[in-house]
């Protein structure tokens, strides 16, 4: 049925992004990004700004390139040999892909939270302390203790784990693990937090907690979140970007996207007309 639908199978080769992809107070700005896996092009000429203290949600069907785009934002795709990235990525004024840009330093500024909660098989304390230790952020044990506590407090996990900081991080529930991962990320003191489907492995209550946390974090951090749940995008983000087959179809205020999207592909996706 969908294949025959003129609306959905329409030619998108010459498509340009509708809506408002740019921001006046851009924390990160990506321009004309093309990403290739070997010969296959995964991202076609995408330009997008993430504003300071803004939550931008990226939605789209599977394989639309949203996760790839997100991972390019802190060079996580460097580890993939066949991945080739073109275009301009800037964190404020700094070129992320500049040869002199150190990846380690970049990732201290742009943290990432993954789909599956992936705490290290270490204690809760060590999980949070790992980043600061690696980057040498704490000069003393007291310093480190303080960073760990603040991060856990900010991640809303402190009260649940303060009595068992030495317990294994992997022993927590899924939602707690994911908040631990967020605490671990913010312990490094990043400016931007990237989230790659952070709630897809969690139950609704844990999801609600994470979403609440995202809202709080957005006061101090700039957040880009990839999600498969449109409701989640609607709940947590200020702007929503819709990706389709490696293209950025539409970027608009979340309210607009979910009540009156500009592009019919966006409309078709968020109303569940194709998957």
């Amino acid at each position: 049925m969908n294949e025959n639908d003129p609306q959905i199978s329409q030619d998108i080769t010459n498509l340009i992004t509708v809506g408002n992809a740019f921001s006046e107070h851009a924390k990160m700005s990506m321009r004309n990004v093309n990403v290739f896996y070997a010969d296959k092009q995964a991202i076609h000429d995408v330009s997008l700004d993430i504003g300071k203290n803004e939550v931008v949600a990226m939605i789209g069907p599977s394989g639309c390139g949203k996760s790839t785009f997100l991972r390019c934002m802190n060079r996580m795709n460097d580890t993939i040999d066949s991945c080739r990235i073109e275009g301009d990525f800037r964190l404020e004024e700094d070129d992320i892909y500049h040869p002199n840009q150190d990846v380690v330093a970049l990732r201290a500024r742009v943290g990432i939270v993954f789909q599956k909660p992936n705490p290290f098989p270490k204690s809760i304390y060590d999980n949070v302390a790992y980043g600061p230790k690696v980057h040498g952020l704490a000069s003393s044990k007291t310093d480190l203790d303080e960073i760990v506590e603040t991060s856990l407090v900010r991640a809303g996990l402190w009260n649940e784990v303060k009595d068992r900081l030495t317990a294994a991080g992997t022993g927590l529930s899924g939602g707690q693990q994911q908040r631990l991962c967020i605490a671990r990320t913010i312990a490094v003191g990043p400016e931007v937090i990237l989230m790659d489907e952070p709630c897809s492995a969690l139950d609704p209550i844990a999801t609600a907690k994470i979403e609440e946390l995202i809202a709080e974090l957005s006061q101090n951090f700039t957040i880009a979140i990839v999600t498969h749940s449109m409701q989640q995008a609607a709940r947590v983000s200020q702007r929503t970007a819709y990706f389709h087959m490696g293209k950025l179809i539409e970027v608009n205020d979340t309210k607009k996207v979910f009540t009156n999207p500009e592009h019919e592909l966006t409309e078709a996706y968020i109303t569940g007309r194709f998957g």
Partner: protein, 244 residues
């Protein structure tokens, strides 16, 4: 009452992955149209009952009002169900929101039709008004056409036609004012007829309200199709927003 089968292919309501969601939306749309048809008939019958002093017809209009109320409640339930279970977004969300608002307007139109029918009964009992029957017939036709047209616009999601209906409300208002002037003249001529004239004025006022509600429906259709909120906006502004 024979229900007409409405097709909804032009709205893409049937393009969801979830077949049952398609069906729910179609049901809502068809039910709204069916309710509209009942209300349409109410208007026609109410007006006719005044013009022809037909007590039976007036009673029938009053009786049908219960049916309209039941339909309103049932449709509301359906809309709440869809909102709760499907969390519709964008076009679907606007569809449900418009539907609930249109239902409300239709119900109000039904109420007004009942009012007209009741006036018809009063007039039949207390004696005919000094005049204004022709105006009632004329306005009744206008309002009936408006409702018919706006329901058609809803069925086809036709913004142009909805805009035309919104414009037509002006005409009803003008008709109402001129009818008032005529009746006021009668009343001045014969103050004893004031009591009976008041009845016909109530009927005319009800018809004028129906016009307003029809315009409201038209505005909801514009919101449904274009996502533009055009309430409390002049026709000119609406037209410019729609680029027409």
């Amino acid at each position: 009452m024979a229900q007409k089968e409405y097709t909804v292919d032009n709205t893409n309501l049937d393009k969801h992955i979830s077949q049952s969601f398609n069906e729910e939306l179609e049901t809502i749309k068809n039910q709204v149209l069916a309710m509209g048809e009942v209300v349409e008939q109410q208007i026609a019958d109410a007006v006719e009952s005044i013009v022809n002093v037909d007590k039976e017809l007036a009673k029938k209009v009053v009786a049908i009002e219960d049916d309209v109320n039941v339909r309103e409640v049932r449709l509301d339930e359906l809309c709440v169900e869809v909102l709760a279970c499907r969390q519709p977004a964008a076009g679907d969300l606007r569809m449900i929101l418009s539907a609930t608002n249109i239902i409300r307007d239709l119900e109000h139109i039904g109420d007004e039709a009942e009012k007209v029918a009741k006036m018809s009964l009063t007039l039949a009992k207390k004696g005919a008004a000094p005049g204004g029957y022709e105006e009632v017939r004329h306005m009744g036709e206008l309002v009936h056409t408006m409702l018919n047209s706006v329901l058609d616009a809803f069925n086809r999601l036709d913004v142009t036609q909805a805009l035309a209906v919104a414009k037509a409300d002006k005409k009803v208002d003008r008709e109402f004012k001129s009818a008032m002037r005529v009746i006021v003249t009668y009343m001045m001529e014969d103050p004893r007829s004031i009591k009976r004239a008041m009845n016909i004025i109530t009927a005319l006022r009800a018809l004028e309200r129906m016009g307003n509600h029809s315009r409201s429906i038209a505005e909801h259709i514009i919101y449904l199709v274009k996502g533009l909120d055009v309430r409390h906006t002049s026709i000119k502004e609406i037209a410019s927003k729609l680029g027409q």
